[in-house]
Symmetry: D2
Subunit: 119 residues, 4 copies
């Protein structure tokens, strides 16, 4: 059984949304439907950035390039908000339920991340 | 002589920063050093987005993914501000100097673009 | 013993940062040192906005008004981030520790608030 | 009558939007209907900030305070965009029409202002 199968197996036992490796517990790290959606969204954003490159390369009107940049920003913001939500609803929530200082640290990380996104 | 050579030839006569096709005058549309820099910046951003995809695929920690999204947002903002500046210093300025309603329209476009970027 | 003393008394038993009325437990709602700081910051921001009014009234240079608007935005963002952090470290954390659906709801509220701040 | 006189003549009848003191020409600096609207909008924003102070003072729920902060941010952004537009459509446009380096400097100022607003 390969690593991929292992991941699928673990995923079957978990509802962890973001799929991030946020703890040493296997159940917090798995291949989730959400992950597939994130990967698809990021693929689309990569295509949008490639489109920006093409637009500049073909001397398209600056304002149209700026409009497209705004669209990419908006798509990235959407991914960031979804990741943040999943992270809080899983990693942070589980840490809070386990008790101890871990949750405080995780919330500090969330605050710092939001601060960076707001820059 | 191919289209590419033609573009290089036109570029030699122009100082147009953004290289965008903002008027029917050939001098306003050319292959500029700025354009090369924009293309390089966008290639880097495309690579950053591909990196985001890899991070999610490899279940990296959500907060690290969010940090990287902020970096991409910042890089895109930098390109947008540079494009906006070039556009104003060339297309808008030239339109204003030519007189008539064209400059008013171009400034309306700039305002709308800034509004979208601020969203 | 006056109401003020009562508040101080409650505050002495609590580490609740934001002082917001986020639960029915008295310990989650108190007059805290953080609250005093928030009130002072908001007073300063009110003064900054009054300064904006004066600047426009005295026909000051638009760009200077815009610079001051950016300063107000930055000050408001600082208050928002601090409030968000306090709210998560107290109301959300306590809800998570109590267990049940309350924490999920509180995290949904946080996500929605971050989304509005990012607009 | 020269072109300069013509401009001054036109200026006397004009609705110069931002009313800011952006040139030494008296006609570029005046009490305009737009100015009244800006003053009214800033008064409202000042009231909103006073409302924030009251909300914190009365221990209102953090999330509701954050919602109100977002509303103030949005109102300030609206004023900033309107000021920027007026500034470009008047001060910058007139500078561009007068020719010389002044317009380039004014556009640099606009770019810097947009950059600060995007922070």
């Amino acid at each position: 059984m390969g690593t991929g199968d292992m991941n699928l197996h673990i995923a079957a036992q978990t509802d962890d949304g973001c799929g991030c490796d946020c703890s040493s517990e296997p159940a917090d790290n798995g291949y989730t439907p959400e992950k597939k959606r994130y990967l698809a969204r990021l693929k689309r954003i990569e295509g949008q950035v490639r489109g920006l490159h093409r637009m500049v390369d073909e001397d398209e009107y600056c304002i149209d390039v700026l409009t497209q940049i705004s669209a990419v920003q908006s798509a990235l913001k959407g991914v960031a908000l979804a990741l943040l939500d999943d992270h809080m609803q899983h990693c942070v929530l589980h840490a809070a339920q386990r008790g101890g200082d871990e949750a405080v640290e995780k919330l500090d990380e969330v605050s710092a991340a939001v601060s960076r996104l707001l820059k």
